[in-house]
Symmetry: C2
Subunit: 422 residues, 2 copies
Amino acid sequence: MEDWAPYVETLGKSARRAAGELVALDDAVRSRVLRIMAAGLRAGREDLLAANAKDVAAAKSTHLDAALVERLKLTEKRVAAMADGVEKIAAQVDPVGQVIEGYNRPNGLRIQKVRVPIGVVLFFYESRPNVTSDAAALCLKSGNAIILRGGKEALHSNRAIVSIISDALKQSQIDPAAVQLVESTDRALVPHLLRLDKYIDLVIPRGGESLIRAVVRDSTIPVLKHFTGNCHIYIDEATTHMQEEVRKVCVNAKTSYPGGAVCNAVEHLLFHKDAATDLLAKVCGDLAAKGVEVRGDERTRALYPPAKPTTDADWDTEYLSFVVGVKVVDSLDEAVAHINEHGSHHTDAILTENIRAADGFVKRVDSASVMVNASTRLADGGEYGLGAEIGISTDKLHARGPMGAADLTTYKWVVTGNGHMR
Amino acid sequence: MEDWAPYVETLGKSARRAAGELVALDDAVRSRVLRIMAAGLRAGREDLLAANAKDVAAAKSTHLDAALVERLKLTEKRVAAMADGVEKIAAQVDPVGQVIEGYNRPNGLRIQKVRVPIGVVLFFYESRPNVTSDAAALCLKSGNAIILRGGKEALHSNRAIVSIISDALKQSQIDPAAVQLVESTDRALVPHLLRLDKYIDLVIPRGGESLIRAVVRDSTIPVLKHFTGNCHIYIDEATTHMQEEVRKVCVNAKTSYPGGAVCNAVEHLLFHKDAATDLLAKVCGDLAAKGVEVRGDERTRALYPPAKPTTDADWDTEYLSFVVGVKVVDSLDEAVAHINEHGSHHTDAILTENIRAADGFVKRVDSASVMVNASTRLADGGEYGLGAEIGISTDKLHARGPMGAADLTTYKWVVTGNGHMR
């Protein structure tokens, strides 16, 4: 077994040193690096696609789930979208140095809360190469160094992307340790990383429950958890005049991302019993027509016999594929209680014409995003106007829901006096 | 050895249930509880002082440090100040429901970030009874339930205070589990508490390094660390025309709290070599005249021979008493590097007439509060206009520096569409 301690120590130490350099850079410099990086992605797309092809071939040979292979795969179009994404982040307003609040106290003491970079971010994420460029760009934009630990299936792709970023940093005379990829996918290395609280300020784990639980258990660094989403749509009784809308939104929420392998896809539909009679079979039929496997409780199967029976485990399951669980409930209360108990506090929506039902749902569902008459797929940094996101936090502290560049900052109290005492 | 698991499970579960009730209350109700609580503190002061006298007697019999006994002690005046503090918190603007940001997207999707309570807070703190009432009041104001684990020396005082709070809650028909005191000071109970991530949303440990490290190690709940402060004042070379101010601010920062036993007291003074020649002996003399033990490096002792010699350990020490460590540095750079290496990222100040020195210090010192020409003692929720504080976070995430009621909230994205899809 390899001794990872020295490698990991070097990673952390060099990231900390780079962060000390980034904090002193103006936005003009930080944004220029991103534009060079975007140009690099475009110019290097052949190499990038070749590296990605290796990953995809290996993934297929190990019979990785089709939806996950789809997520891993790069195309000319996807590389162009990555480059565009980086340029959009470059063009955003600089969050660093923003005065969040500023006021004078009665004694004349001047108080300002000023945004500053967090420092060094350690990021665990799934095998989606576009996340590598987004995350690096968001961290550089906000003046942070980042250590990337992507899914093992994407290692060749990630190496190619980080090599392009390193070139952009070097070209700008910035320490390339600002963006580092953990070079090995050996799991034994992870606990060492998670004890580097001396060098790393924040860990963001994105992905499966078991990974995130392990990170929380082992980390002495603060963690912002990004669980994938067990998202719900509750179809309220007051939907008589919006049946078309309900059908379209449910289909969109389940199927608009290829394979349904995305955290904001809906996993479970809860129908109010009075909405179910008319609508449940139609919605389930629409979904089945799109290739979705419908599972349902007894009352669902009475209304839509093709549904497979659910087990208790279904309600806690994030399928991340073309499967949906359907349940009939007696009331809004039952829907809210079900969501708060079984959901992952990510994104949950109500479809209703009734303002009291909407308000009650919004107030009582304890999730990062609560939606009224909209598809859960809209829970996204881009859709919320953040430009891009490093992920969707299911934690309650610091940042909740889609996290953009500003969420990768903290603040400092700057207090200016004139010999003030207490 | 007692099995604490069942007791702790009950604590957590009942706090979670109470939090579910608090989230639905309007501010009128939450603030009324606080006013009843303030009245209860005033009316119950005899019992409270009697309970406190037991704690103080026990502390003296175990030869607790005089500064810590001072901190533990209640007087009529201090009880009145506690009640006033609670009323001030009641009168604050309600943070819950505030729309932090709200805007429409180009497609008409309505986005709002709305403040909501965090849920259940677990709070570890030192033996200062006034912290019990402040923390409970801040949590109730912001719609959170709190589990209090105070220092063992204050157990009788804390029981008396929490009994007054319970009465106020019951009188308002609110579940008294909204504010609970951990009834035992057995340390074996703590790891059980720290694994209750099912019920508790946030742990705030205030106090000594070893307590906080243990909490971070054992907790599966997010932690906001409140280290006590190793605060510095750097006396820049550009202080020729502000010598009186320098002398007063340094004395204030060290001695204005009885016994110096407070996190925002200054622990170390760094003199620029050119400021030292004239000022160091005067400042040290002023401090010694107030009963402060002055320790210094060699260059300090050359200028002020009564200083005791420092060892390397001094620079990392938070004395929390009438002791100060003094060092002569060659430059602002050296001062900044020293503070970032040895400080606790709590509060650090520069005294200077030079705007570039002030700006450089503010930008490069990585602390929650950075001050220019002001006493470190001003780092305080009250002084910053937060009304009161649950403590001073030395962490970088969520809240940094003094934390008031608004810092005990998170937010929810409320997204309203009209059949919006992606």
